[in-house]
């Protein structure tokens, strides 16, 4: 909520006189929202021909992707952030899904797009989009998290808002062809142990993927949340690599090459390798560990209603399965409470949790702690730093703390 809308909201709340805790408020005077005829009650609205492709209410204009200019040299090879603090449920609206490009948004003509399979295959093949649409399809809901999500927070609390600390993620339903079917169509030779996926944009993004994963649950997807992929998400076709770091989900997918060894390309040597404090680096850190964040309250979404009933909510996910349980603390981790999971629980998908409490107006230190279906418990940032140091950039899944003060304002902090 912006400062201006927050002020307007508080002013409205004061007029209605609804600040009493523990008992229902009584209005001192009739509410003009009721007694005065509003324009939308009197006049006609727009017709069904006015909005062929609908858009959100003008009152939601602040719910947008945002970027942080100082993070990168240029907005073309850069990232923006999903406004997690404004969303609920588990599905990210297509227009709000964070973007990460290395050479900008490729505007691909689907009629001119081709997907090639070559390398250690019986028959190298070329598919058009029309060909791909004739393979059997599946629908899967998965999160896509950038390996660098929360990466700016390794050395301490830096950005003030879960959009910035955790917003390099989205969760949508993909429709696509199992990658296995396409590989089987070409016929993978015995020595084919690795797959190179390559994009059609000017970065010609490439990543090496072990054949086991390719044959397991990867998709070649052309729809998200029911409609065609957005250009910024790889239109007309992208790779879906469930549970694995977002960089591998190659957009504008144009080529799949089967090989007997990994390629060790730029995005798996210079980038997406995790430097430890002894100067050596992990490579091939593909899986995204279990993680969670409280989206409300949070720095961009303060408590504006005063004491009384408070809904604490957030999201949790794991690259290794589902998240059957999330714990929430309001006192910085002295006492934990099991949150209430709500909504579908799907493999390598986002989960929604709620913890309802009666807020007495005292400051809070809020944290959430995900536990995934493998029994893995989300670690603290200090636990991660003890193993990895502060320079690994990627894969920061440490527990996030929001300090809420007596005014309901929240801040990104680290605690002992």
């Amino acid at each position: 909520m912006s400062d201006t809308t927050r002020r307007a909201f508080l002013k409205g709340a004061a007029v209605a006189g609804a600040a009493v805790t523990g008992s229902r408020a009584v209005a001192q005077q009739a509410d003009p929202a009721i007694t005065e005829l509003q324009p939308w009650m009197r006049y006609l609205g727009e017709g069904v021909d006015a909005r062929p492709y609908g858009h959100p209410s003008e009152h939601e204009a602040h719910v947008v992707r945002r970027n942080v200019e100082w993070l990168t040299a240029d907005p073309v090879s850069s990232v923006n952030f999903t406004p997690l603090h404004e969303l609920d449920g588990i599905i990210t609206p297509n227009g709000l899904c964070f973007e990460r490009h290395h050479a900008g948004i490729a505007e691909v003509d689907p009629a001119q797009h081709r997907l090639m399979i070559n390398g250690l295959v019986d028959t190298p093949l070329v598919f058009t989009m029309a060909d791909l649409m004739r393979f059997p399809r599946v629908n899967r809901v998965h999160f896509l998290e950038c390996a660098a999500n929360s990466g700016m927070e390794w050395a301490g609390a830096q950005l003030n808002g879960c959009q910035y600390t955790h917003g390099m993620i989205h969760n949508v339903m993909y429709t696509g062809v199992p990658l296995r079917l396409l590989l089987e169509e070409a016929g993978v030779k015995t020595g084919g142990k690795w797959l190179l996926a390559e994009g059609a944009d000017a970065s010609a993004m490439t990543r090496s993927i072990p054949m086991e994963k390719a044959l397991d649950d990867c998709l070649v997807a052309f729809k998200m949340n029911g409609e065609a992929l957005r250009p910024e998400q790889g239109y007309p076709v992208r790779l879906v690599v469930p549970g694995w770091e977002g960089n591998m989900w190659v957009k504008w997918l144009r080529r799949l090459e089967v090989g007997d060894q990994p390629w060790e390309h730029r995005e798996e040597t210079s980038k997406y390798t995790d430097l430890l404090d002894n100067g050596r680096a992990r490579k091939w850190t593909w899986e995204m560990d279990a993680k969670s964040v409280i989206t409300n309250p949070s720095p961009q979404a303060p408590i504006t209603h005063g004491r009384g009933p408070l809904v604490i909510t957030g999201v949790a996910w794991s690259g290794r399965g589902t998240v059957p349980r999330v714990d929430v603390t309001t006192d910085g981790g002295v006492t934990w409470h099991e949150a209430r999971m709500s909504g579908p629980s799907m493999d390598k998908s986002m989960h929604r949790f709620y913890y309802e409490m009666d807020w007495d107006g005292a400051p809070l230190l809020l944290q959430s702690r995900a536990m995934d279906s493998t029994g893995y418990v989300q670690p603290t940032k200090d636990m991660l730093r003890q193993v990895r140091g502060e320079n690994s950039i990627y894969h920061n899944n440490g527990i996030q703390t929001w300090a809420v003060n007596a005014n309901g304002e929240a801040e990104n902090v680290e605690i002992s």
């Binding site: 090639m116 598919f127 169509e185 390629w263 060790e264 404090d277 100067g279 992990r282 536990m371």
Partner: protein, 196 residues
């Protein structure tokens, strides 16, 4: 298409595979014919690369640093460059060819890419100034951080120790705030702009 498959797609022609299959592997697989020396590389660099990466690979502004940073990987602020960090020379050739110059990708000829790669090696003190890189000399080059990487070991180093029943009550004696994002104040402002 494969017998017993769906019969979809068509066989890729050799010329089509050749046009798109430009990837290079650490053992040199995929390298084209050609060669280039350090001083030719400097000329190509000044014309195509120095405006972002600096005359000596030191970088302009926030653009990537290409040279230097040796022996900084275990320090507080490591400088990760081709010389200090990259394990394979093949990646340098492959990446320059596929994605550089930024905004004009795949515009360089094989000889130019060989020459640029040689110049980057020279900037990083890996070769002398009379070095010429070609498919034949490619595997002679030893990258300083070739042994600096190991496959993901989280299964041993982390997963086992963090799969434990967590504490629910009386987990700490005291809690203190040790760091605040607001003190640093680097979060973008202007959420109001979008509203008004």
């Amino acid at each position: 298409s494969r017998e017993g498959g769906f019969g979809l797609g068509r066989r890729a022609l050799e010329a089509e595979v050749a046009a798109w299959d430009i990837d290079i592997r650490p053992d040199g697989t995929g390298l084209p014919e050609g060669s280039g020396d350090v001083w030719t590389g400097e000329e190509v660099w000044v014309e195509n690369c120095a405006m972002c990466h600096g005359d000596f690979g030191e970088a302009v502004g926030r653009w990537p640093v290409i040279a230097g940073g040796w022996d900084t990987l275990d320090r507080k602020d490591p400088v990760k460059t081709v010389g200090s960090y990259w394990p394979y020379l093949s990646t340098v050739y492959d990446y320059i060819h596929r994605a550089m110059p930024f905004g004009n990708a795949q515009s360089l000829e094989p000889d130019q890419v060989y020459a640029l790669t040689a110049y980057i090696l020279y900037l990083n003190n890996v070769v002398e100034d009379d070095f010429e890189l070609s498919r034949d000399t490619f595997l002679d080059v030893e990258m300083p951080n070739a042994d600096g990487f190991f496959p993901d070991d989280r299964a041993e180093a982390e997963l086992a120790q963090w799969r434990t029943e967590p504490c629910m009550e009386n987990c700490k004696d005291a809690v203190e705030i040790t760091m605040r994002a607001r003190v640093l104040d680097v979060t973008p402002e202007g959420e109001a702009d979008a509203v008004e």
